[in-house]
């Protein structure tokens, strides 16, 4: 399904993107992601396709806002039955939907007596009761506890796949985008990149997108050599080999992006060591079971060391450290900082 929407107030957005199965639109808070969903749902004035020009109640969409907006005066099953026409089968239909999201036992409860995950599933069942052609989810992970989040997300994605309705979820959470079938990145009111998460996370199109996707290291440099087998990028005091990318030629100013988790201590990738850099440890910080190492020298880099690689090493501020990055993990963008 192709979505094309434009709105001017309260934020300026010009969105054109594909929605396939479970699609995540990744963007910073305040970018207008919620407004896009409201525009598609017909709740704020906007021009667009599909459903443009239809009144909100005539658009075949299901909308799950943040916090899910269950009706507090209705029981779980009555919430699900809300969009169903009055008739004999109304309760049975609602109960069937609740059973499909695994909540048949809680049908008589009011929303106040349900957990965050349970509310989300009631809201999902309610949205699906109308047989929508598109499901809109606003920050589906925001109201969930970290402890149960992954489980609930897996369940949610499985359920929406089961129902076979395409989903557009907006989020600022890269973790959710990783689980998607398709994703797009929203920056300054436009889609700057879209595609399968694997491709987007590996090759962000711009620095803004790279930041949003979790890249922390950006180095300004120049292309030194290009060949079919790869390229060499260099800056003041550093040289890095990378895979070949089309459209690059020697002398071009570029920005190199490297993920913190793609940097490894010098002995890990083996000999002959590609892309080895000698740097000085500036600071160390524990992040859960991993260790974040801040280094300076010819360039400043941030490395996230998994605990398996911390074993047997003594790292301290001031120590000299050889670090490496695989050429395929050095991402080059034609954009200067």
């Amino acid at each position: 399904m192709e979505i094309r929407y434009q709105l001017e107030k309260p934020v300026t957005l010009d969105i054109q993107m594909q929605v396939r199965d479970f699609t995540v639109l990744l963007g910073l808070s305040g970018e207008g992601k919620t407004m896009l969903l409201k525009a598609i749902a017909g709740l704020i004035p906007a021009r667009g396709h599909p459903f443009g020009g239809l009144a909100a109640e005539r658009r075949p969409i299901g909308y799950l806002p943040q916090g899910y907006a269950l009706f507090p005066h209705l029981r779980a099953w009555e919430n699900v039955a809300f969009p169903l026409p009055r008739g004999a089968g109304r309760r049975t239909q609602a109960m069937d939907l609740l059973a499909r999201v695994g909540l048949a036992d809680l049908a008589e409860r009011y929303p106040a007596a349900l957990s965050g995950g349970q509310r989300q599933r009631v809201a999902l069942a309610r949205a699906l009761a109308r047989r929508p052609e598109l499901l809109l989810l606003d920050e589906p992970t925001s109201a969930l506890d970290m402890a149960t989040r992954d489980e609930i997300l897996d369940e949610l994605i499985r359920e929406v796949h089961d129902f076979g309705v395409p989903v557009l979820a907006v989020s600022h959470d890269p973790h959710l985008a990783m689980l998607a079938d398709h994703m797009a990145v929203l920056l300054d009111g436009h889609i700057v990149q879209e595609g399968p998460p694997r491709a987007v996370f590996a090759r962000p199109a711009t620095m803004g997108a790279a930041r949003l996707l979790g890249f922390r290291n950006f180095l300004a440099g120049r292309i030194e050599e290009t060949a079919e087998t790869g390229m060499v990028v260099a800056g003041s005091g550093w040289r890095l080999r990378t895979g070949f990318q089309y459209g690059m030629h020697p002398g071009m100013s570029v920005t190199v992006a490297i993920r913190s988790e793609d940097l490894v201590p010098g002995d890990v990738l083996g000999v002959p060591a590609p892309n080895a850099l000698k740097l000085k440890v500036v600071s160390l910080r524990e992040e859960g079971v991993a260790l974040r190492v801040r280094m300076e020298g010819a360039c400043s880099l941030d490395m996230l060391l998994p605990r398996l690689q911390c074993e047997g090493r003594t790292l301290a501020p001031g120590a000299t450290l050889w670090v490496q990055v695989a050429p395929e993990h050095v991402h080059v963008m034609i954009e200067v900082q």
């Binding site: 017909g42 709740l43 009144a55 109640e57 969409i61 907006a69 009706f71 969009p83 106040a112």
Partner: protein, 267 residues
């Protein structure tokens, strides 16, 4: 050791604070309710009888107050909904204008009404040509009650509507319900507590309206004006029976509505 001492002091202080709060509350409550107790003692229970015309006044008050209340709710609800839902520049002017009838003393309001709807005014003249006289008639009586009660109802209903999260109304639309259905199925049930309070308040205002009614519709006499007439003509002891009836008919509806909505307040 010091920890134990701190707990001891805290525990010692709390009951005295609670005692002061309870005593204050009891004093204020007694002050508020004392006149009602006085009524019990002042009434001559051995010679409890109505003055001539009291029963007619009760009928007038009950019937026309119910009519006025129905009109207040019918006209005031859409206004309150509109005030709660539409935001535009200069809305504060509308808000201030809305407070005007509420803040105007009843007697002044009565004078305004008689100058506007009276037989010598252009509006009154037009209406009387159509056969509607708005001085000392049943329609005038209802009109006076509406002016007395409507501002209170609109304020309460507006607050009730503003308390309904807009998101729930929007979600209802995305679930295929139009504005009208959304109003009945989402807005109204969620605003119920506040609306009930508004209805109760309007009922008491309409029943007890004296100042406006006195000027605009001395006849037909309802309970408040009849109480005043009895007091003037026959003295204090002659008003107690009608006063008792006044309490009995004015208070139960709001009391019942209030208790009912409180019980159902928890979802």
């Amino acid at each position: 050791m010091s920890h134990g001492a701190a707990v001891g002091i805290g525990a010692g202080r709390q009951p005295s604070a609670r005692w002061i709060a309870t005593a204050t509350a009891a004093t204020v409550l007694t002050f508020l309710l004392a006149p009602f107790a006085a009524l019990v003692f002042a009434t001559d229970w051995h010679d409890f009888h109505f003055a001539p015309g009291d029963l007619a006044a009760i009928r007038v008050s009950l019937f026309y107050s119910a009519l006025a209340l129905a009109l207040v709710v019918l006209a005031g609800t859409p206004l309150a909904w509109w005030l709660a839902h539409y935001h535009y520049r200069g809305k504060w002017v509308v808000d201030a204008l809305l407070l005007l009838p509420l803040l105007t003393p009843p007697l002044a309001m009565g004078i305004l009404l008689s100058s506007f709807y009276g037989p010598y005014s252009p509006v009154g003249g037009l209406l009387s040509q159509a056969g509607l006289y708005l001085t000392n008639t049943a329609p005038a009586f209802v009109l006076a009650q509406i002016y007395g009660a409507m501002p209170y109802y609109v304020l309460a209903a507006r607050a009730a509507f503003e308390g309904v999260p807009e998101e729930l109304e929007q979600i209802s639309r995305t679930l295929g319900r139009n504005r009208w259905q959304t109003f009945w199925r989402v807005t109204l049930p969620l605003a119920r507590l506040g609306l009930t309070a508004g209805v109760a308040l309007a009922w008491v205002r309409a029943m007890g309206e004296f100042g406006i009614v006195l000027i605009v519709a001395y006849f037909p006499q309802g309970i408040p004006v009849k109480l005043w007439v009895n007091l003037e003509d026959m003295g204090l002891s002659a008003v107690y029976p009608l006063l008792w009836v006044f309490f009995l008919v004015a208070v139960p509806l709001p009391l019942w509505l209030g208790l009912r909505s409180r019980r159902q307040g928890m979802f």
